[in-house]
């Protein structure tokens, strides 16, 4: 299995298209960092404009606000919406791409079980997803920490603002990146499943993105009847739950409690739902592939 996995990873990282995603992430992160480095204050003013009626913010506070942690939060908010496309580029290609190239039939004449083949392919896609996230973490988190420095992190919420102490932030990012890995693996599993049905990778990539977009729209719609009937079961409703790691509990005086998470059960429930989705998508993909006649 390890030998096969090495082969799959070798194949993935030998393809030029693999690096499109890494390049895209690097470009977006650098563009955001450069923009905020030179015009960060305008951005902060814009963020605080909704709160300025009830709060007064001096320049010193604004300077502290514009630190590496906040920049990473902004980047995460932006990139985690775009990343499913980058994930689908590889996962949607996993089986369909082999079918399109004609190498699937050759691979299936080798003494490898179809289940083993699928598990290896999926694991390789998962490792690629992790690699993307690691690059993103390095650039968005550590890059921003280097460029903008660190300070207490301020999270803007509809109810107001909350301040997380400098020393209490980093673990939250690790948790958020871990959660994002699961969320993106769900997208990867969906693209992987669709890849089994297709004979070229364009179909699964477009289908994955269409499903993610439609589900995201449904997740964001404020229609009461959907709130309990549909939204809780859409994986897209749970993909943004990583933000939960940055929502902290406050004591009676309104001071945030270090190391706390406001609603950990909700975050864990969302995580559980995503994991169930991954197993359902992957299990279905393996079941279909085992029964499939390879005619390409």
């Amino acid at each position: 299995m390890w030998k096969l996995l090495k082969i799959e990873l070798f194949k993935i990282f030998k393809r030029p298209r693999t690096y499109i995603a890494f390049g895209a992430i690097a470009a977006i992160v650098f563009l955001i960092q450069i923009a905020l480095k030179y015009d960060g204050k305008s951005y902060i003013d814009l963020l605080l404009s909704n709160l300025s009626g009830s709060f007064e913010f001096n320049d010193d506070f604004k300077d502290k606000l514009l630190n590496g942690y906040l920049i990473c939060f902004v980047i995460l908010n932006t990139l985690l919406i775009q990343m499913p496309l980058l994930i689908a580029l590889i996962s949607g290609d996993a089986i369909a791409g082999e079918a399109n190239m004609g190498t699937l039939r050759l691979a299936m004449t080798k003494p490898i079980s179809r289940t083993e083949y699928m598990l290896v392919k999926f694991t390789a896609s998962f490792i690629y997803t992790l690699a993307l996230l690691v690059v993103m973490a390095l650039l968005a988190l550590f890059g921003s920490m280097l460029i903008f420095g660190t300070n207490d992190m301020v999270v803007l919420r509809s109810e107001g603002i909350e301040q997380i102490k400098n020393f209490d932030v980093l673990w939250r990012y690790f948790a958020a990146f871990g959660y994002a890995a699961v969320a993106l693996t769900t997208v990867s599993a969906l693209a992987f499943l669709l890849s089994v049905f297709a004979e070229n990778s364009i179909g699964p990539i477009i289908a994955t993105m269409s499903i993610v977009i439609v589900f995201t729209i449904l997740s964001e719609m404020n229609i009461p009847i959907y709130d309990e009937t549909i939204k809780p079961y859409l994986f897209t409703s749970h993909m943004v739950a990583w933000k939960g790691f940055f929502y902290v509990k406050a004591n009676a005086e309104g001071t945030t409690i270090n190391g706390s998470i406001e609603n950990l059960p909700a975050v864990l429930r969302s995580l559980g739902i995503l994991i169930v989705y991954i197993f359902v998508f992957l299990g279905t993909a393996i079941w279909v592939f085992r029964k499939k006649d390879i005619l390409t």
Binding site: R15, G102, L106, T109, K110, P111
Partner: protein, 311 residues
Amino acid sequence: MSTIVSVKNLYKNFKEIKAVNDLSFSVEQGQIYGFLGQNGAGKSTTIRMLLTLIKPTSGVIEIFGLNLQKHRKEVLRQIGAIIERPDLYKYLTALENLRIFAAMSGVKVSEKKLLDQLAMVGLAERAHSKVKTYSQGMKQRLGIATALVHDPQLVILDEPTNGLDPQGIADVRNLILQLSKEMNKTLLISSHLLSEVELIADSMIIIDKGEKIVEGKVNDLFDPAETIIELKTIDDESMYEKLTQSSLESFVHGKRNDCILLKLHRQQVPDAIKQLVNMDVPILSFHSKHSLEDYFLSLTTGSQHVEALKN
């Protein structure tokens, strides 16, 4: 000589289409076995079933004496195959492709052995070139190298000369003969280019519409009782008239491509020649036309011939 491949009562239906219909045949050790049929006859479907790419609707496939469904991995470990086109990873080099397929076959092959394998198919100098820069013939040879990289006992080649130029076809033919004679491999080769199979196969099966039409040794099948004579004379029109009114009338089979066709038993040929000479027929050429191609066409297009041969 032991049986390497044994197929019994194999069926494959794609919804209402019967792609393979009650097919049985066997391949003996060391043979080059030709698997013949027109396009769409069911050759590739059968080969895909032999390689577990397609599940049979019913029937039994045993390879090396093992049930293919139950012992898939053990059996596939001993098989090398190309199915239709030799599609490989175009963005990788020949050596990388070979290394990948060797690893997938479960064997560890040294760099030297891989290069030897490429040398055997004449690609040693292009070992480090990406496959996308290869010609069709080179891809075909590399495909054969990937099929052989794990030293399999049975080699299955589906249309191995497809898309090749005459030199490429000759190269592949020689390679197949080398594998059989020098390396003692058992080969199952499908083709619709019957002249190719005629030159290399020991035994063969002809299938049409998924059904076996005939199976046997090429030499036996190639020597049937009847033969077609293509007779060319100075004046075909009048000679045709003359022959239809002579004692040779019952042998006249028609006209094709400016030739008069006579259908005779082999033993009748010398007498027929004598009679033609006695009748002063101005013969330009007298050609016993019986290639495997004619045989194949007679089997797959003429149901009367088929029935006759079956009986």
